[in-house]
Symmetry: C2
Subunit: 435 residues, 2 copies
């Protein structure tokens, strides 16, 4: 039953390609995991074991050779899929059955992945939460909006999964659920077939069981992505608290500072990064742009089905209504002017470290906590990685965020691989992703 519990997607596909195990053996294992815990987790909004088995059988028959041969994957329900309805957790789209797969779903299929099902998102990947529970504590949120993909990862339903991020929708659930996550640079991955929220920020991202899984997915989903050179030696990191450090829980701060100590003990230089004061406005600028763009993105739903929208979404429309065109333009202009300043700040470092979230997963399923430590970097489209920190038995996960310069995605993945290796051998070893 637990034979693939420790296997990451990379080793699973290697075993399938080497005919050590078959795609259907792998699939049956993960179907068993779903069977065991889905009733309490509620990761899936659409799941059909027969369709999963049909894919595995087809792969076995055709001796699939892709980079993800036989690897089960969870797909957030804001990606169009031909073989599952696509509902965005909105009653408006109860009957929506897309005619084509989203771009990245096509690429996953071509690489031999097995689509396990559609995972719960919040309404339109915004704030109104679904029924999904955090496998580490069923009374807590898994985070939002990639809730089902993150909870399904933590429950062991699949070793890789797709999410999206506009503010903190990928990294926050990774932090709360103890997952490796990668949000590439803005614009690198096609959003074809993904319902837009705030197009200035919307980005495809994914979960894996290791940093190398995150890189493997990058190879599949970003054609032409440079190959990782595992021999590189990274030395110099920044540590950036941002203007919201006062919102960090003491336990989280301690865990992050311990990780920094582990890195220093291993011979790495970690320097405090102090941002100019003007960066304190970034949080509000992100919110404002998100509101205005979101209101435009869902304007047709507001006109046709105002009664079917959540109070959270209606509040966004109301904030957008009170924001002027000039205010939105000014916010965009401020971010555009700060971007090259940040680029210079990042230049001396191989990566910049910080918090993924200010707290562990909060109690309750309806509110998922602020995304400030994620959206600060989202405002500039920078690539972000969550590395789950080690923790005592029974403690809730805490994530270390590792951020790179714009389009330094490959470099960042390499740096994260090295950081992860240090932390797993340090006093504070990184955790398994499965609970």
């Amino acid at each position: 039953m637990h034979k693939f519990e420790k296997s990451d997607a990379t080793s699973l596909s290697e075993m399938v390609l080497a005919d050590i195990v078959s795609a259907d053996t792998v699939t049956e294992y993960f179907l068993d995991c779903v069977e065991l815990r889905e009733q309490s987790i509620k990761a899936f909004v659409s799941f059909d074991p027969s369709r999963v088995r049909a894919q595995a059988a087809q792969l076995k028959k055709s001796h699939a050779k892709g980079l993800l041969a036989g690897v089960p994957v969870g797909i957030k329900d804001n990606y169009d899929t031909m073989d599952h309805p696509t509902r965005f957790y909105s009653p408006i789209y109860d009957d929506n059955c897309p005619s084509r797969d989203a771009h990245v779903v096509s690429l996953l299929r071509q690489a031999g992945a097995v689509i396990m099902g559609k995972t719960h998102t919040t309404e339109f990947a915004y704030m109104h939460t679904g029924p999904t529970r955090n496998p580490h504590d069923l009374d807590r949120t898994p985070g939002s909006s990639s809730a089902g993909s993150a909870a399904g990862m933590a429950a062991g339903f699949f070793p890789i999964a797709l999410g999206t991020q506009t503010a903190g929708s990928l990294i926050k659930p990774a932090s709360y659920c103890g997952l490796y996550a990668f949000k590439p640079s803005y614009g690198l991955v096609s959003l074809e077939g993904v319902k837009p929220l705030a197009p200035s920020f919307d980005t495809v991202g994914w979960y894996g069981r290791s940093v190398r899984d995150l890189a493997l997915m990058a190879q599949v989903l970003i054609p032409g992505f440079p190959k990782l050179n595992h021999e590189r030696n990274f030395r110099s990191f920044g540590f950036c608290r941002t203007a919201r450090w006062d919102q960090i829980d003491e336990d989280v701060a301690k865990a992050l500072e311990a990780a920094v100590e582990d890195l220093r003990s291993a011979g790495h230089q970690v320097s405090e990064v102090l941002l100019p004061e003007e960066f304190a406005a970034v949080f509000d600028d992100h919110l404002l742009i998100n509101d205005c763009e979101g209101a435009r993105s869902f304007s047709k739903e507001l006109k046709m089905h105002p009664d079917k929208l959540s109070v959270e979404l209606l509040a966004m429309f109301e904030r957008a209504r009170l924001t002027t065109w000039e205010q939105e333009s000014a916010a965009k202009r401020r971010l555009a002017r700060l971007a090259p300043v940040l680029e210079e700040i990042f230049r001396p470092f191989d990566a910049v470290l910080g918090a993924s979230c200010g707290s562990v997963a909060p109690l309750g399923l309806e509110v998922t906590g602020p995304s400030d430590f994620c959206k600060f970097w989202m405002a500039f489209g920078l690539p972000q990685i969550n590395i789950p920190l080690g923790r005592p038995a029974g403690a809730l996960p805490v994530g270390l965020q590792v951020v790179g310069g714009f389009r330094s995605d490959c470099h960042l993945l390499q740096a994260a691989e090295q950081i992860d290796a240090v932390l797993r051998n340090g006093k504070h070893s990184a955790t398994s992703t499965i609970v």
Copy 2:
């Protein structure tokens, strides 16, 4: 038969809303226009008069009250539509019937517009051309890629139409076909349901029969777009030749310079704008990024159906294959650094004028000429308008391009309205859009 030949969308909707004419009377007129010339123009890839009549009858019955009540519209075939197949002029998508409308198609329907049909695009809005002919001269291209929308406009099949632009796909056909066209600032209009080509540049745009039509469409497609204040007085314009002025045909240069003279005679200041030398690299940087992003966008089609792609698209893949990750990053970085420089250059002016194209529509249907004068501004996401210049009887259309600062879309439309009024009263009056 010709009763609505001179009516723009704004006046048509006003007449429908005031019950002066009914939606079906308007529709029948435009259906007659299609009947008369479509066989030689080939604007439509999907057209069904019965579906058009059904929409008009429904609008009449429900006394539709939208801003585009009863106004026929052409939709480029790279927008998803529920009631027409969406084929992108690619045999891969012969049977593609989307489950939902693209965002802007929904907004058009909500505003009371009548979808006339899907108009020809080049393959995936890139370079491989379709059968559409230029109504001004059937032996000439209408331009690409929004070929069917532009030709249909010039042939009088509809008074407004949707296009898209990544390099020059909207403005070039407008210039060749003698149309008013508006490409808003990058990111303003939702691309949901539009097949991506190069996401850093892809933008929704449209044609109309007047500048006020362009503004009316902005009101419909950009919720929250500021209202035009027709009383503003614009005085100061730039005139920018860019580094490609040596590619301008003499007749085009003369027409543009005559328009500038008209503006000066009417009391406007038009100053020559000289760009720093580093801007000469923008053309190649746009091409390089377009190639790399295009190759990523169509990577799934390349993998699954390489035999069904055009030689033009395969050449793009080949160029992308020979481009390194670092070259693409460097190109993006150069554009990001030049954007604020350009912003400063634009600051003294209400708008910057220039050429839309270096020539009139070339002979032949397979090649549509360079898009340099369009893509230069696309590289920075600036809003662009084409104003058709007046011309002697029988002469081919020439377009004046009017460009604004980023997100100065409303200001730009107002400036264009004033420029257009001057030109229509000047020695070189602006042309009708219908031939």
